[in-house]
């Protein structure tokens, strides 16, 4: 074994770091992005976001043959409208995934990011690089949020694309308002995606907090989803009255207000406030905890 260069002296800087070491250069966003991109979990999740609209599209083809009224009521009308154009198809795809699928995906990206490193044992090597703890968290959070947003955009984008190819480019229709011309409809769709992204910040915050609290990635993801479901259930109980407004899920479907004309922004604003507060609190706790805790994984 050759140890030829061992004598080459490293030149430490004033702070005592090795030559070429700068705390701010450690674990760049690009590096973390590639770390996560290499994971099968990431690819599956993103792939599913692309696949889901296609599955829905195929499912709608079957609907033609059946002469059942498909359960009737609202759902039937939802399907009817979903096939009226690309925008509506995208809207339908978002509608069916907003309440659960996207929550799981966001919880996956944000809950798994630190906990999985801890469970692999690679977290302690990153900290020994050393990647400053706050930086590690910040980069991980940014990348996790980035992937969450990418998932959201992939879902909507694919749905819009295949929906438009299959059903054409037509105005956005809904049960709650007059039809909206395609150009404005696209803006509304973007607005819906933006609001969903904001609401999901609360999930992201919760999952991230759990992620730095536990070494079990499954615990962080599952815990976040579990609590989200609990909040949804509590939100169904009208006896809670005004307390329901405090639940993170209470304003989760306020984006429906963007379908009406004029746009209803009251609940959206409140939902944004709620989600921002939750996310800020959760993230603050996560940073507070992680920058102080003993990493024993």
């Amino acid at each position: 074994m050759a140890m030829t260069d061992l004598r080459r002296e490293t030149a430490p800087d004033a702070a005592g770091g090795a030559r070429g070491y700068r705390p701010r250069a450690t674990l760049s966003v690009g590096t973390e992005w590639r770390r996560q991109a290499s994971r099968r979990r990431t690819r599956f999740a993103l792939g599913f976001m692309v696949l889901l609209p296609l599955i829905i599209l195929v499912a709608f083809q079957f609907d033609r043959a059946g002469d059942d009224d498909n359960g009737g009521g609202e759902f039937a009308s939802l399907i009817e409208m979903a096939t009226s154009g690309g925008l509506n198809f995208a809207l339908f795809s978002i509608f069916v995934s907003a309440s659960f699928l996207l929550v799981v995906v966001v919880a996956l990206f944000c809950g798994d990011t630190v906990a999985s490193e801890a469970s692999w044992g690679s977290l302690r090597y990153l900290l020994a690089v050393p990647v400053p703890r706050a930086r590690l968290l910040a980069v991980k959070l940014v990348v996790a949020l980035g992937y969450s947003l990418l998932a959201l955009l992939l879902l909507a984008g694919t749905a819009l694309l295949v929906g438009t190819l299959r059903y054409g480019w037509s105005p956005l229709r809904s049960t709650v308002a007059a039809q909206i011309p395609p150009g404005e409809g696209l803006l509304r769709l973007l607005g819906i995606l933006g609001y969903l992204a904001v609401v999901l910040l609360a999930v992201a915050g919760l999952a991230f907090l759990l992620s730095v609290t536990t070494d079990a990635a499954l615990g962080a993801v599952g815990g976040a989803v579990l609590l989200w479901i609990l909040s949804s259930i509590l939100d169904q109980i009208t006896a809670l009255g005004a307390l329901r407004g405090l639940l993170p899920t209470h304003y989760a479907s306020a984006w429906l207000g963007l379908l009406s004309t004029p746009v209803q922004t009251d609940d959206i604003v409140k939902g944004a406030i709620s989600a921002t507060c939750y996310a800020t609190v959760f993230w603050s706790l996560a940073f507070w905890r992680f920058t102080r805790k003993d990493v024993t994984s």
């Binding site: 260069d5 490293t10 760049s28 406030i273």
Partner: protein, 1065 residues
């Protein structure tokens, strides 16, 4: 789905006209006698405490439990630092020690704080939910007998409740509010409003009007001699109360508030009794005759079209309520009672005759509690569908229409847009009539009404605010004079969350009336069409179902006009949206073989892709007389359509429908065929699509004149929330900036000085101590140095504190006390100087889905250091994985991962290499190779720190050793020094007893106690050869002579024969 579908709560009292039950429809808590303190939380749902506390508790409890379950050490007991397998052989002794300390460990400070916080929150939540709400008033029920009637001598008992604020006293009298209920209701149906007003500091008198509930007397429909005089007597009663402020003796400072029937009373009382200081009539009538017999071309009620649907409901309810009526307590769940009807009322409130069969009570079964003249008038109108002059006079007597000029009390008129009973035009007439005297009048429209209920929350808030402002100024004398601005609202759509309706409010400086401030004229056109009047008005179009409630869900399916019974005239699509505020007008023509026609003119908003919508189900009934038989001879008449508030979007069409029959109205029984057309011949180019198809007939046309009002949107609480959001975001950004600034400053202040004496020493550990949160002391006091060129072994049994020391050294854990210096730099978690240390701590940590090579690359990329400094090839050579380096980590054996981890630690050739159990999992040749690598690594001024629990390992690899046991250093120094030969030697002999005797004779030689079979002898300078010679000489066979070494001695002496319990302190 129509928006009406989603409305289920209707606040006006007429709601329970549909119910047989006279109990208050919309109050969960019915209180008789002195007020009992209410509870916070949802009225009518019990217990409120449950809902209050669970909401707060459940998430936090669950979170806490979850966190406990997720905590890494939770499953492993307090000493989560155990690493190797040796330590897991926990003895009974260790267990008992652990058990003894369990309680103490569980009660750490953090847990105590968290627990008490949770307990405190729980207690607060329960307390908040259970604590009775303190009311600011007291309520007293009383039956007051008043004398009224034409002579003022007929006694009648009125069931009243008097709400008196606690603050009121004879010394501090307060103004009063007389609160009247709607038709079919009782004093209980306005209880919530009364409580609201009492909270605002008004003494409130609610009472059940005569003919209803437990009050006596008959219904005279707000007759000036009866109901109005009753109310006057109640003002007398108020004037006698010392707590009520008076303007003069016998003249209380009083306002009258009421909706519908109560609103009519407010107007009439203000007209007949000038002691009234302010009134707030809501959703009420101007002319009762015109309300029940409307005619939209401006004809008198004698020629009006009878609104039979509403009239029947009214009359029916008046007949059915009251003692001995059809009241059946168990009948609250009838189809019309809605959710409120299912709530059980206070038994004391039930009518004495409850449950008696229909008709069992005395009195006229045809008239119920109606006064005979009212009943007779109704029967006449309902029979013929036409009103005679007497009936109209009777209705006029009960109308403010003729007495508006006598009203001097400032009037706040609130009218509903969804009201087919008392449409906006009624309030409009009242407003104009009262304002003509110079009396201050303010008008507000909201999206509810007799059909629409209380309207969305924003409307309710606005009305509550306007009312309070009005009363405060004109009764209390506080606050500035309310402006006379006109406010209205428009349904904007569904609420996305609760599926209720939301409305946007608008305001303008002055009330423009129902004619608007400007008009938009939209041409409509269509050919003359023949339409048939169905015999006996059946089948008929259903435009609105009075109080349809849940049934209105069906409305969309059955609504619409019947073929052959209606004519349509459409406009071209609107080029821009029109906000209609007021009553549109249109001119039509009609021909009838009988010379007469009853027609219903409706204005639809036609969505090109959706349904045509009739705003609030409002129609304009017209009775035309003197018609020619031929349409060409017909003269146009102007029809004033009902006032609406609606935005008609661009691209939508207007459709004028003229129909022959309507479910809600009485129409002529004879089948006739009319011909209808628009007022004029069609203007050129006004041919809309569908009617052009009916080619041969010449087009007729007219302009629909749509009134509009320019208004400013009313800022809602949403604007506040928007600012809150902006503020929140700003605060977060500011907080982040401050945080970053503080951290930077702290970072700058951080001690970057170099301790000169350690500047060239790779590692100095001084007095290190690590105590975990649960009180476990992993390292009690450790101090050692690693100098350049040294390979230092950290030797100790499992659980001795080696790994904890290394964890602190890697910045993973914070020490409780003590310092670590690396090249003179103080080492803290995240210190840059860590970059000069390469580490393998607690086994490898790789991304399982990447290959070995990719893992090394990913790791180096994360350091952010230049590639050329990585020395990847050398590291790979050390790892010696060959082609396996391209395989995924998850396929690696333990040893392969270990080698790769060592290679990763060596990436960048750090000046200090820290390896935790590096030979773990390696086979003997690899171990030997590793030893050479490590020794060579340290030869050029670098240093290596190796931890191991294997003595041989340290002995063969290291230049120096530090022996750790139970968190403390027991030996340290150069390996030769401590591994060097011990003065003691072990002799295996054939006869230990004889040998002992021989050895005892040798001077200085000492047999150490405690060994059996073999003798351990301290030769103390005597050569071993000499000792052997002595033994042999004495005839003792010597099997083995094993020189003992110091380290082993020390190690065994400290550790014992096994390392059991070494992790316990």
């Amino acid at each position: 789905m129509s928006y009406r579908e989603s409305i289920s709560g209707i606040g006006w009292d007429e709601r329970d006209l549909r119910s047989d039950d006279p109990r208050p429809p919309d109050r969960g808590q019915v209180v008789a006698g002195p007020a009992r303190p209410g509870h916070r939380g949802q009225s009518g749902l019990s217990p409120p405490s449950a809902s209050g506390s669970y909401g707060v508790l459940m998430p936090s409890l669950l979170l806490a439990r979850l966190r406990r379950a997720l905590r890494p050490g939770a499953g492993r007991g307090p000493d989560g630092v155990r690493t190797g397998s040796g330590a897991s052989a926990g003895s009974d002794g260790a267990r008992s020690v652990a058990r003894a300390g369990r309680w103490r460990r569980r009660l750490t400070r953090r847990r105590v704080i968290a627990g008490s916080t949770a307990l405190g929150l729980a207690a607060a939540a329960v307390g908040w939910a259970v604590w009775p709400e303190r009311t600011s008033w007291s309520a007293t029920d009383a039956v007051i007998t008043v004398h009224s009637g034409p002579d003022g001598t007929e006694p009648v008992q009125l069931d009243t409740t008097f709400f008196l604020p606690h603050a009121a006293s004879a010394a501090h009298p307060v103004p009063a509010v007389l609160l009247a209920h709607g038709f079919g209701g009782t004093k209980q149906s306005v209880r919530a409003d009364a409580e609201d007003l009492a909270d605002l500091g008004y003494a409130v008198l609610t009472y059940t009007a005569r003919g209803f509930g437990r009050s006596g007397g008959q219904i005279h429909l707000d007759h000036p001699d009866y109901e109005v005089r009753d109310a006057s007597r109640l003002l007398d009663w108020l004037a006698q109360r010392p707590e009520i402020r008076t303007d003069a003796s016998g003249d209380p400072r009083v306002g009258v508030v009421g909706g519908s029937y109560g609103g009519g009373l407010a107007l009439l009382l203000a007209a007949h009794d000038h002691r009234v200081d302010a009134i707030v009539p809501m959703v009420t009538w101007h002319d009762l005759a015109r309300s029940f017999l409307p005619e939209s071309t401006g004809r008198d009620p004698v020629d009006g079209v009878f609104k039979k649907g509403w009239a029947g409901l009214f009359f029916g309810s008046g007949g059915m309520t009251g003692p001995g009526g059809l009241t059946a307590p168990g009948d609250a769940t009838g189809p019309g009672s809605g959710p409120d009807g299912t709530e059980a009322g206070d038994p004391a409130e039930r009518e004495p005759g409850a449950g008696t069969p229909p008709g069992a009570a005395g009195g006229d079964p045809a008239c119920g509690r109606f006064a005979a003249d009212v009943c007779a008038a109704y029967l006449r109108i309902a029979t013929s569908g036409r009103a005679d002059a007497d009936a109209v006079a009777l209705l006029r007597r009960s109308s403010p229409a003729g007495v508006l000029d006598r009203i001097t009390a400032p009037t706040l008129l609130i009218q509903g847009e969804a009201d087919t009973l008392f449409p906006l035009s009624e309030a409009d007439a009242n407003a104009r009539g009262i304002a003509a005297n110079g009396t201050p009048v303010r008008v507000a429209w909201f999206t509810g009404g007799h059909d629409g209920g209380n309207g969305p929350q924003s409307d309710q808030d606005r009305i509550r605010y306007l009312t309070a402002q009005w009363l405060d100024h004109y009764l209390k004398g506080t606050g500035p004079a309310p402006s006379t601005s006109f406010t209205w609202s428009r349904i904007a759509g569904f609420d996305a969350l609760d599926r209720g309706l939301i409305a946007s409010g608008f305001t303008t400086t002055a009330y423009p009336g129902i004619t608007g401030t400007s008009r938009v004229r939209v041409p409509v056109a269509g050919p003359a069409q023949r339409i048939a009047n169905p015999p006996d008005g059946n089948p008929a179009a259903i435009s609105a179902l009075p109080f349809a409630g849940d049934l209105s869900a069906l409305l969309d399916r059955v609504t619409g006009d019947l073929p052959g019974q209606h004519a349509r005239f459409e406009s071209a699509p609107l080029t821009e949206a029109v906000d209609v505020v007021g009553a549109p007008t249109v001119r039509i023509r009609a021909a009838s073989p009988t010379g007469e026609a009853v027609l219903f003119v409706k204005l639809y908003d036609v969505d090109p892709d959706g349904p045509a919508t009739l705003a609030n189900g409002l129609v304009a009934p017209v009775r035309l007389t003197g018609l020619p038989a031929d349409i060409t001879a017909a003269r146009p008449v102007g029809v004033t359509l009902p006032a609406i508030v609606r935005r008609i979007e661009a691209g939508h069409r207007l459709r004028i429908v003229v129909a022959t029959a309507d479910q809600a109205y009485a129409t002529p029984a004879e089948p006739v065929t009319y011909t209808v057309a628009l007022g004029d011949s069609a203007p050129a180019g006004a041919a809309p699509g569908n009617s052009a198809a009916a080619a041969p007939a010449p087009l007729t046309g007219a302009e629909v004149s749509l009134p509009t009002v320019a208004g400013e949107p009313i800022a809602t609480s949403a604007a506040v929330w928007r600012w809150v959001l902006v503020g929140l975001l700003a605060a977060i950004v500011l907080g982040l900036v401050v945080l970053v600034a503080v951290l930077r400053r702290r970072h700058r202040r951080q001690d970057t000085s170099v301790v000169a004496e350690y500047a060239d020493t790779p590692l100095v550990v001084r007095d290190l101590r690590k105590e975990y949160a649960d009180g476990f002391v992993a390292v009690s006091r450790i101090g050692f140095e690693v100098r350049r060129g040294q390979v230092v072994g950290l030797l100790g049994p499992n659980g001795a504190g080696k790994t904890t020391t290394l964890r602190v050294l890697m910045g993973l854990t914070r020490p409780t006390a003590g310092e670590i210096y690396v090249f003179g730099h103080r080492l803290t978690p995240g210190s840059p100087v860590l970059s000069r240390i390469g580490a393998l701590v607690e086994g490898p940590g790789f991304l399982p889905h990447l290959s070995g090579l990719e893992n090394l690359r990913a790791y180096w990329r994360a350091t952010g250091r230049p590639w050329e400094d990585a020395h990847l090839d050398e590291a790979l050579e050390i790892a010696g994985l060959g082609d396996s380096v391209h395989r995924k980590i998850r396929t690696y054996s333990h040893g392969m991962r270990q080698r790769l981890a060592i290679a990763q630690a060596m990436l960048g050739l750090p000046e200090l290499l820290v390896l935790d159990e590096p030979t773990d999992g390696l086979d003997p040749p690899q171990i030997a190779e590793m030893r050479r690598v490590l020794r060579r690594y340290a030869t050029d001024g670098r240093a290596v720190l190796v931890s191991s629990h294997l003595l041989a390992e340290v002995e063969q690899t290291c230049t120096h050793a530090v022996v750790v046991h139970k968190g403390q250093i027991v030996a340290a120094g150069a390996v030769e020094e401590i591994v060097g030969e011990s003065p003691s030697t072990q002799f295996d002999v054939s006869d230990p007893e004889a040998a002992r005797a021989v050895l005892d004779r040798l001077s200085g030689v000492r047999v150490l106690p405690g060994t059996n079979g073999a003798l351990v002898v301290d030769t103390n300078g005597t050569a071993r050869s000499e000792v052997v010679a002595e033994l042999v000489r004495a005839g003792i066979a010597v099997d083995r002579v094993v020189p003992r070494r110091r380290l082993e001695d020390a190690f065994l002496a400290l550790v014992g024969e096994n390392s059991r319990g070494s992790g316990d302190r």
